[in-house]
Symmetry: C2
Subunit: 325 residues, 2 copies
């Protein structure tokens, strides 16, 4: 009920009368009054005026299920939100829920992760309150070898949410979002499958939103939307923006089961596009001009001898002339 | 200790003295005596003669960890055996153990499965006592799209174990073992992965060994080694044969990360080899002569117009002139 009351308050600029809330939600005045107090305790600033009702003045920076449910306008992404203040990692919880039958689009969000993970088990710094740590559960009916492309689809959605707020971010192929050469978002895709059938895919997304400083060991390579712009951002609004855009891109991806409908837009967001890149792949080194991704999500690199190499993501290092990017 | 005493008894045709067992295993006479009684209760027939010691006369048809440990001679496959009388499915348990960090080669065996699964969630009949229901946990350092080939590697190992005991079995591409057109073994490969990195692979193997009759709904398509030969077989010996052969084939597979070292031997076991096959794939139908698999495990089919089609496993139906095969 809390989410629905919050939604009513959000959808009106003016006051919402207590009576109206009681009628719409079929609850008592006392129940409404209790929820208002709970919301205030959580940090929502609600003005109550006699004979006029309640008005939402300010919202706190929360990523709870109620907060998200009150602003989500997607058709399937995040239709079920699982929020916990603390999780080992949102991907781990999403995988457990998936094994128990959780549906396509289920979203897992935590205020902090005690052991957030990046690719190949690397640590992902996930402190309380400053970032978005979430995982989306997907059940696409595509071949397992196509699933890696979903990482690029997610990167596009995150890029759009960040770049509508601040300038200067880019995608570094395949799925890092960077600002000034520093990573502001990481995406970890995990899958459970049979050889020709996907059980589920979990896309973990970590975004450094309001982080003010980073531990010494990653300070040189990590950025947040705040360190890059000096501003603070509502994380719940970021999350809903990412989900809304992801839903659109995902549906376009599923039309063809590849990136043919999205590669042009992806390439516009790609920092390496048209730039010289240095590739290192299992001891093999070469360089050339990045010509963007193909419909399978591989990076095409035209070497100086004219040959175009299709770089498959994985343990490959891609560096530009300016170092990291 | 039980497994080690069993191993000592097994490795000697003659009597093993109680004193010798005490010294080798560093335990008391009473402890040895207790284990002998336990083994007898489990169905092992052990002769005890004063001044000579113990002799193993007959072994029951068990697949317990002690039984398997006493005969396994592999270097890594089944080095850890997890046995339960009853499991929902051995794949499910293997996946849970894998998430908890269980090692490469861990074997999960059950006397019966309450909800054994085939591909895409289909039911697999797994009654008590008559079959082999087991899963092998693997942690190969290969790209996820290569993992499906492991199913074919496992099929070869099962084929070898069955065909060294009875005649008339074949592999039906990609991984069914059939006798007289009926399925005697099913293999379900499941994987947890990142796009470029495998967390683990679980290969579930179900073999109908001593099954005497099948439920009506599968009686027309299922066979057991017993229904095909009239004989009964020790399941523990079958399991160790499968693991020993699997280990060899697996290591050969890993040398190249594909089937180039194994495809010739696979094709010799393939019932469809050189035969006309009828393919139905997403509504598309064609036929031709099966020319065996390629190094990626795809079935090559030469159509009458000379074109060779590479058939990828999945929701594809392959039928021979005699119907099912």
């Amino acid at each position: 009920m809390k989410g629905r009351i919050l939604k009513c308050l959000r959808e009106t600029d003016d006051y919402v009368s207590g009576q109206q809330l009681c009628q719409e939600l079929k609850v008592s005045r006392t129940a409404v009054w209790k929820v208002m107090n709970q919301l205030k305790e959580e940090g929502y600033m609600i003005e109550a005026v006699k004979n006029r009702g309640y008005r939402l003045v300010r919202t706190p920076d929360l990523v709870t299920a109620d907060e998200l449910n009150s602003i989500l306008k997607t058709s399937w992404a995040g239709k079920t939100v699982i929020y916990e203040e603390k999780l080992v990692s949102t991907n781990q919880t999403a995988k457990v829920l998936a094994e128990q039958g959780a549906g396509h689009g289920t979203l897992v969000v935590a205020e902090r992760q005690t052991a957030g993970k990046g690719r190949r088990g690397r640590e992902w710094h996930s402190p309380k309150g400053s970032g978005i740590w979430m995982s989306i559960l997907l059940r696409p009916d595509i071949r397992p070898d196509k699933a890696s492309m979903l990482t690029l689809v997610a990167a596009m959605a995150v890029y759009d949410a960040i770049s509508s707020r601040i300038q200067g971010c880019s995608i570094k192929w395949p799925n890092d979002i960077i600002i000034d050469g520093r990573k502001v978002c990481g995406i970890l895709t995990e899958m459970s499958s049979e050889p020709d059938h996907i059980h589920y895919v979990v896309i973990g997304i970590g975004i450094n939103v309001n982080t003010e400083d980073f531990p010494e060991d990653i300070a040189g390579v990590a950025a947040s939307m705040h360190t890059a712009s000096g501003q603070y951002f509502k994380r719940s609004e970021m999350i809903t923006d990412v989900l809304q855009t992801f839903e659109i891109y995902y549906d376009r991806f599923m039309e063809t089961s590849d990136l043919s409908e999205l590669m042009e837009e992806y390439n516009k967001r790609l920092i390496n596009y048209g730039q010289r890149v240095y590739i290192e792949e299992r001891g093999r080194k070469y360089d050339g001009i990045a010509e963007g991704i193909d419909r399978e999500g591989c990076l095409l690199v035209r070497r100086d001898d004219g040959m175009v190499v299709q770089v498959i993501s994985g343990e490959v290092s891609v560096r530009g002339v300016l170092g990291y990017v």
